[in-house]
């Protein structure tokens, strides 16, 4: 599968995760969200940027439980709960947000 972004054709796996995370640019997230009928708000971007930083530091996409806790610590308790994250990313915060962020599927996600 491929996704068209800014006139470039980027390769993804069969579930839509970007094959090479170095090819990511913000438009990738915008395009992927559009395909899910979602428009990205600042709140979405906060989580996406957080995930990219987490990956940069630890070389993994965090499990949802770890993500929730870490978001709470970084962005405030009102955001560090699954209700908030599931409202932003109804397909599952770890899976959907990681996809938009260009990361591989979180370890342990089936």
């Amino acid at each position: 599968m491929t996704i068209e972004v800014n006139g470039k054709s980027l390769e993804t796996d069969e579930e839509g995760y970007l094959a090479d995370l170095n090819q990511w640019e913000p438009e990738v997230a915008t395009m992927m969200a559009k395909a899910d009928d979602t428009e990205l708000s600042d709140a979405h971007w906060e989580v996406i940027n957080f995930l990219r930083e987490y990956y940069e530091e630890y070389q993994i996409a965090p499990a949802v439980r770890v993500l929730t806790k870490a978001i709470g610590k970084k962005l405030g308790k009102d955001k560090g709960n699954s209700k908030y994250l599931y409202e932003l990313f109804p397909y599952g915060p770890a899976k959907q947000a990681c996809k938009y962020a260009g990361l591989p599927k979180p370890t342990g996600c089936v």
């Binding site: 530091e57 630890y58 070389q59 993994i60 965090p62 499990a63 439980r65 770890v66 806790k69 870490a70 370890t107 342990g108």
Partner: protein, 135 residues
């Protein structure tokens, strides 16, 4: 509710060259989602997995050592390194990554995850486990 079991994942091999080290780490991260009492042991060449400053560009493999620092986030707080294995390889604790976790009971104070234990102590620790997967 099932009973919480004590798991000790034993890591014996150098980080690259075989897939054991990475596989073990992934199993630990996946397993941490379940209610288990998880600890890790690094013995023999396994101590190299925690070495600081790993550089893998020349062998064309991903350096996954930064991921060990995420173990604290996954509530893995007990990491045993065997002193003898370290000494036999000319390594000291300073050569290893500094791994920490946050203690919720003490206002999230940062604490060291790694404990350096002797071969005899590690043998006792193994005795206390329910499950000891070896990689």
């Amino acid at each position: 509710m099932s009973e919480i079991k004590k798991f000790l994942y034993v890591n014996r091999k150098a980080p690259y060259g075989t897939v054991y080290a990475l596989e073990s780490l992934e199993v630990v991260l996946i397993g941490a989602a379940f209610d288990q009492d998880v600890s890790l042991a690094f013995i023999d060449d396994g101590v190299f997995q925690l070495a600081k400053g790993q550089k893998t560009t020349d062998i064309g493999m991903k350096n996954f050592s930064p991921t060990y620092s995420a173990l604290g986030d996954y509530e893995v707080k007990k990491i045993y390194v065997e002193k003898e294995s370290l000494e036999e390889r000319g390594l000291t604790p300073d050569n290893l990554l500094h791994l920490t976790y946050e203690d919720e009971d003490e206002d999230y104070a940062e604490k060291d995850s790694i404990q350096f234990v002797s071969r005899a102590e590690l043998s006792d620790i193994m005795d206390q486990q329910d499950v000891v997967p070896s990689f």
